[in-house]
């Protein structure tokens, strides 16, 4: 479904993403892990069109998508969340989710320059019955998406997003991505900054999405979550893929252990990572 070949991106002297190959099949959940600075987020930015690769190709359902703009990719069915959270601060939770459904609106379709936008404006001002019905249906769908997160978001659906907690903003981002009915969902560290309870909740949410048959590409630091959710794991370090395979194979790969423990100099972080690896093992 998603096929990446020899993808490379350089920033000055640093090669942030170096000759990465990756395939994701429909319905699969693939995780990308690696130490901080390994190039994971850059890889996501390249896939979603926010950055352009120096070499290599990305194809989505057989179509080469390098150089396509993020808005074109959105219409193809790619949806992503951001590492630090990018909600629309002054929009209500419900409106944030509805923006996710933007590409599905019928009024947005006509793409002719000048005439298309004018038609969209006319539809927005006159609001015939079909437009109102569509909006109503989308609202109901948005509420049903918010239900996935239980009581976390529903009671706050009319509050502006800037008033939400960090964890709730991350949830809003996922809800917004789901509203676009993505063919593939890219999650960039969905549990960053979450406590163990919230992380466990998020794990259940992602598991639900996976069971619904959604194709997921996941960046995550919490290995426990990765091991439980992933069908396959790609390990990156210094821009390179150093291992790829089933979660169990990757966990015991000496190169992976070295990447996490070996050349990192901060002792405290080492110990934590080691403990986590042991815990998982």
């Amino acid at each position: 479904m998603l096929a990446i070949e020899n993808l490379t991106r350089r920033f000055g002297g640093i090669t942030a993403v170096n000759a990465i190959n990756l395939n994701v099949a429909p319905g699969e959940t693939v995780s990308v892990i690696g130490p901080n600075g390994a190039g994971k987020t850059t890889l996501f930015n390249l896939i979603t069109g926010l950055d352009t690769p120096d070499e290599g190709t990305i194809s989505f359902e057989g179509q080469v998508i390098n150089g396509k703009s993020p808005e074109q990719l959105a219409t193809l069915g790619l949806a992503r969340t951001f590492q630090h959270g990018r909600v629309f601060a002054n929009l209500s939770v419900l409106d944030n989710v509805l923006v996710g459904a933007h590409t599905r609106l019928r009024a947005v379709r006509p793409a002719f320059p000048v005439l298309g936008p004018l038609a969209e404006l006319a539809l927005a001002l006159i609001r015939p019955a079909s437009v109102r019905a569509e909006e109503q249906a989308l609202r109901e769908e948005a509420l049903s998406i918010l239900e996935i997160f239980g009581e976390r978001l529903l009671p706050r659906k009319d509050q502006p997003a800037f008033s939400l907690s960090y964890a709730n903003r991350r949830r809003v981002e996922i809800a917004r991505a789901l509203a676009s009915r993505p063919r593939i969902l890219l999650l960039d560290e969905p549990t960053a900054g979450m406590n163990p309870t919230e992380t466990a909740e998020m794990l259940e949410v992602i598991r639900t999405l996976k069971q619904r048959g959604l194709t997921i590409l996941l960046i995550e630091h919490k290995l426990e979550l990765v091991m439980q959710l992933s069908d396959r794991v790609l390990v990156m370090d210094n821009g390179r893929a150093i291992a790829e395979g089933l979660p169990n194979e990757v966990r015991n790969d000496p190169k992976v252990i070295e990447a996490y423990l070996g050349h990192q100099t901060v002792g405290h972080a080492n110990r934590e990572a080691q403990e986590e690896l042991e815990l998982v093992a």
Binding site: T48, E71, A74, R86, F88, V99, H102, E120, L121
Partner: protein, 607 residues
């Protein structure tokens, strides 16, 4: 050949003066990410301090220079203290708007003290010229070059070899990290403002001597030229600012040689737009980079709008409509008519600046397009006035969007600068396109307002026409904000990267916002033209654009009712102090400053 060398020398000298302005702007942008609109006002104050020294105190040249440097450095520190420091934690647009307010206040204070008329600033140098090749260089040229070079060397040594200089560079690279390492960022900012303002004031003095002419409004053009030079080089780069300034000086000088003086600014602004579009980060910029991820949207002050029940809005509209039947006071009705026309402008601006987050300072240009379109349609083509006004709205929507289109790819403060430049270009094109616009003479005998063939002369009819236009346009905007478009525009304002990721094409929606905005502004300009019966290229100036910005901040950005409230308040309240008409602009400036400091979300709250 002679003239070529003369034009080159002239260009380099002017470039040198721009460099003193642009380096200051670049330093300030480097440490505080702020585009300082008050810079030109400091330059103007420098020229006036010089005038006091020379004409009153009869000081020798060196003392004059010292006086200007010290006076302007102190002023710069004051600006930092008032305009920047208290706003460190507010929306990113707030300090920029504060410097606009400070600039207004400084210009008006100087105008109140010294009067608006130009004064001569005598040069204190011998009047000889040096033959050089086939051109000549005067003593003043050498002084300007000398001061420019000395300043550059001193600045370089300061940044490279002193501890405070290191702190400045560290702050420019990473403000938070510098703070954690114990750098006193406030002291750094204050130092930078002092240096920048001293340089700015000095260049004001030199320009005053060069042209032997100073006036209170001279700062605005200087601010613009400084911006252009800085942006050509790349915002925040000191070296880039110097190169950009010399380039700008040369291009202007050659442009004047080819086409004449009235094209000078047109060249400067076209250069600005070309650079912004072609290399938005300046000529010296490095490769493309992703904007950093914000934790929340940072453009607009988060707030919840004041909820006004629908019956109250309808009741207010009803009172406004019935007013001429009850009140016979012509003066009151005329003031309110003026307020309604400004309210249409504020509606137009609040849609792009508030809802879509594109802070425009070019709306005076949109008014001018509407006014000229309607006047020319009515006079040259004999179109009936009512039709001409509607057509003017459509023309402004199309032409305005097309003109601002190059700025769509810009973000944040750059949009403000670019729209300002585009607004100025409109004025300059009107000035120079004589066969269409009658150039500097302006258009007179514009037919009066009429509707369905009935000419409207009496105050009440004009009042109703303006109010009707306002209510109609407000209704359209209300419908728009309530539809998916309102949500989409606000999303692209809060975070354009996330918006694009969800399929929102920035060009399409910025275009729509500017088209609707242009339509409203065009209607307002057109009605004004038929009401005044005379317009010229200066009828719609930058002061109107800044006034409109103040109105929408007063009312609350993106808020329809807020825009109307802001317009009515700012148009009618100064009328209460009729005796103090010359203080009006000063009052606007102070209101803007107080609002930004104490109620950034405005009276009705941002939407």
């Amino acid at each position: 050949m002679t003239s070529f060398i003369d034009y080159s020398i002239n260009g380099l000298i002017i470039g040198n003066i721009y460099a003193m302005l642009a380096v200051g702007l670049a330093l300030i942008f480097g440490v505080s990410n702020l585009i300082n609109f008050a810079h030109g006002s400091v330059y103007m104050v420098g020229a006036y301090i010089g005038w006091i020294c020379i004409s009153y105190l009869h000081t020798p040249l060196l003392v004059t220079i010292l006086g200007v440097v010290v006076g302007c450095a102190l002023l710069g520190m004051l600006i930092e203290r008032v305009g920047l420091r208290p706003l460190a934690s507010t929306a990113r647009i707030a300090p920029l708007l504060a410097t606009i307010g400070i600039s207004f206040v400084l210009d008006q204070v100087v105008q109140l003290i010294f009067g608006a008329d130009p004064r001569a600033l005598p040069s204190q140098l011998p009047n000889w010229r040096l033959q050089w090749g086939s051109g000549t260089i005067g003593a003043l040229d050498l002084l300007i070059a000398g001061i420019g070079l000395t300043a550059a060397v001193l600045l370089f040594c300061f940044l490279r070899f002193t501890k405070l200089g290191w702190a400045v560079r560290a702050t420019a690279l990473d403000r938070e990290a510098a703070m954690q390492m114990g750098v006193n960022v406030h002291a750094v900012n204050q130092t930078v403002f002092a240096i920048a303002s001293a340089l700015g004031g000095l260049s004001g003095l030199l320009v005053g001597m060069y042209y032997n002419n100073i006036y209170p409004a001279m700062g605005f053009q200087a601010t613009l030229k400084g911006f252009i030079a800085e942006l050509i080089g790349g915002a925040g780069s000191v070296l880039g600012a110097v190169l950009g300034s010399l380039l700008l000086g040369l291009i202007e000088s050659y442009g004047i040689a080819l086409l004449g003086t009235s094209y000078r600014n047109l060249f400067a602004f076209l250069l600005l737009i070309v650079v912004l579009v072609w290399r938005p980060n300046g000529l010296l910029s490095r490769t493309r980079q992703l904007p950093p991820e914000p934790l929340t949207g940072t453009f607009i002050a988060p707030s919840r709008p004041v909820q006004v029940p629908r019956w109250a809005v309808l009741a207010l509209a009803g009172v406004a409509l019935l007013l001429p039947l009850v009140v016979q006071n012509t003066y009151l009705l005329q003031t309110l008519t003026n307020a309604w026309l400004y309210a249409i402008l504020a509606l137009s601006l609040t849609l792009v600046a508030g809802t879509a987050g594109q802070m425009s300072l070019g709306h005076a240009g949109l008014l001018a397009i509407g006014a000229y379109a309607s006047a020319l349609l009515a006079i040259d083509l004999g179109v009936s006035v009512g039709t001409a006004i509607l057509l003017a709205g459509v023309i402004t929507a199309g032409l305005g969007t097309l003109l601002i289109f190059p700025a769509f790819r810009l973000r944040g403060h750059y949009v403000t600068i670019a729209t300002l430049g585009i607004g100025e270009i409109v004025g300059l094109v009107i000035l120079n396109w004589e066969w269409l616009t009658h150039g500097p003479i302006g258009i007179s005998n514009i037919p009066p307002l009429s509707l369905f063939g009935v000419e409207l002369y009496d105050t009440a009819s004009i009042y109703w026409l303006s109010l009707g236009a306002l209510l109609g346009l407000a209704l359209v905007q209300w419908r728009l904000l309530g539809s998916h478009l309102g949500r989409t525009l606000r999303a692209l304002r809060d975070d354009d990267v996330a918006a694009r990721t969800y399929g929102i094409s920035l060009n399409r929606y910025k275009g729509l916002a500017f088209a609707v905005s242009g339509f409203a502004a065009g209607i307002s300009g057109a009605i004004t033209a038929h009401m005044y019966s005379y317009i010229n290229h200066e009828t719609f100036n930058i002061q109107i654009a800044v006034l409109a910005v103040t109105m929408i901040i007063l009312g609350g950005m993106g808020n329809i009712l807020g825009a109307i409230v802001g317009a009515v308040a700012l148009i009618s309240l100064p009328e209460l102090f009729r005796g103090a008409a010359e203080y009006r602009m000063l009052i606007y400036g102070i209101v803007l400053l107080l609002l930004i400091r104490f109620r950034p979300q405005g009276l009705m709250g941002t939407v």
